[in-house]
Amino acid sequence: MIFKRRRQHSVLSFLLSFVIHLFIIGFLLTGAGYWYHMDQAKASADKKAASRPIVKAVAVNQSVVENQIRAIKTRAKMKLEKQLAWQAHLQQMAEQAVAKKTGAEQHLAELQKENQQVKQLTEKMQDKARAQLAYLRALQAQAEAKLNMLQAQQKAIETQNTAISKKMLLTQKAIANEQSSRQKAALQARLQKEQAKQAALKQQQLFNQLSKYKTLILNDIGKQWIIPPGAKKNVSCKLLVDLDAMGRVMNVKVLVSSGDPVLDRSAVTAVLKASPLPLPKIPALLKQFKQIELTVKPEGLLNEEVNLS
């Protein structure tokens, strides 16, 4: 049913609706609902708090609190600083260790290098020493070769000598047994020949000994003779050397100078340094070695005769 309502121009209803709208707008604008909500929340919170135990709050002095705070702060700072310092210290130690290590490594490298150099030097010196030894051995071998040759000659002479002696003995026996004077004469002739041969052999023996000792003496003096580097090859000096019975050099005189005093002195020093000289034991030969006239001529070095390959 649709009521047909009489339109009532009611001012009252208009005013009422206006007030209600104002109220609503005001309510919204001022946020009263918000405040109400907060009140409610607070009330519920208060209710909750009221159900918890009550905390006994003590009133504290402000300055004490500040001091304490300051103290804690400084302590914390110090702790931090100490930590930093310790870290720095550790770093420094680490760096030092590294430096030491590199230093040690360098030092080690230097030592190794030095060691290497020393090794090379010793090797060089060893090589030189070995070369010198080889040279001396070669010299000795050369001298020995000469002496061996003389020795061999000596042996040959001796065997010849014994053979001759035997022959002589036989011949003499034969002479004694022989009746025929002609045969005797022949045998005597043969004996004479053999005697002569024996005498010759004896001479050769003496000569051999002479050569041997001459070689030995020249070798000994030569080994001691340091030829001055500037000495010319075609000059020579003559020395007169006096020896005693034991071969000791008593005196050295320069009979003819080479013109180079350094060469003269080198020769004289060589003779004096080589004392005592080897001398033969046979008196017949020994008396020949009382004085030696030595001509010194720098022709070359001792090892130039030797083939050192």
Binding site: I221, W225, V252, V254, K290, P298, E299, E305
Partner: protein
Amino acid sequence: MDPVVKPRDDLSRLSYRDLIAVSSEMLQWIPWSSHGMTWVETGVFAWNDAKLKEKKTMKKHIATLLLALTFLPCVSSAALNLELTRGTNAKIPVAVLPFAWHGTQKQPPLKLSDIIQHDLYLSGRFQLANAQGTTAKPLPNKVADINFADWRKQGLNSLVLGALQAQGDNQYQVRFSLVNLFKNKQQIAPQSSDNAGFNPQNNPVLASNVFTVKTAQLHDAAHRIANQVYQQLIGSPGFFTSKIAYVLVKKKTGQTRQYSLMVANFDGSDPQTVLSSSQPIMSPAWSPDRKTLAYVSFQTGVPAIYTFDLIHETRRLIASYAGINGAPAWSPDGKKLAIVLSKSSNAKIYQLDLSNGRLTQLTFGWASDTKPSWSPDGASLVFTSNRSGTPQIYQLNLASKQVTKLSLRGIYNVDPAFSPDGQSVVFIHQRATAYDVVIKNLNTKKMRYLTRGQMADSPSFSPNGGEVIYSVLINGQSRLALITLSGNVQELLPAKSGDRVEPAWS
């Protein structure tokens, strides 16, 4: 039957008549038949017999006479004749004893014996012994204190001893003696009739001297003593007071360098700066009188040759032609300089007369020629040239203008220097990665290595021709080194920082 004639011992003295008489007498008694001989035969036989015996005794006498004659040379003259022709080239064993010190301070200002010992060692001719004294047996410093036998036992030939005495504030007296340890046992007076020749071993002191010097001259005094010792023992003058000139290159900030022309003692001690520049200095060369140094300087931006008078400390411009001006070399008479100029497009060697400045071209052709070095007789020059394609050493005869090639091996031979006796030339020879100092004898044509496996440069001879100084690259640094010709001494001269190059030995 008793024989009428008594048998005579010496039948050889019998005459024919005697024999006939004997035989005729004997005939009475000899039965004819038993021997079947006539009396004539017997007599003749007896005579024959006697004569034969006579002959035999004669033979014996002749034989003995002949034998005696062979012995005559040995028996008649008193002395045995020997000839010594071969010796050794060993080092002379000497000892340099520490000099006695007389002064107020505990230590002497300079250890003279150390310097002398080092000098003698560097010459390569001496075997130096380390002499240690004890409080019980102190080392002698006077000739009278020497126990000759003791020192001889150590195998030494000579001793050097001396003393240093302070005289006032800045003055010292140095005295030394060189003593020969080997003297005769019998001291024969020179005037005695027994002394047919002279007796050099009577006086053991070979050399002795006294110097009075200031402190600054002590070092030099030590070198002078070493010179005298060398002269007495070797026979030629010592070179221990000689100087060397070289260029010192020091790296400064970044790429810049400082170049200094230095003069020092031959052993590298006491270096003095002659001049210093930030522009390159090269090729120092000593004049024959050792008073002037010629060198190349880039201080004007381009190379020019100058000479520096060391006494007056003045400099003179010699050559500044267009292009290269380099490698000055003094002639032996000091009147000319051989220089390298490229004013005619290629580097050629010219001769500059110092008195009138006249220039004469010496080498011709398209190749580059450099680094001339005069022979001591002034008759020829050696130089480096690439006229055969690679750098080689050539010799130019100044009179005949003939050029001969000296370096016959290798593809790189540079930096020649003539020896003072004119018999050899030393130069740098490349083999594989090494640049070694080699010496070539101009007479025997033989080439010999002095160094092995080194990076060597610019060799120069010592004044006595016994050793060579050169620059060598070691561990990235160029240093100076000495080597004897026999190769038995090789020594690096002391060097702190910087490179030392192009040494020239006065």
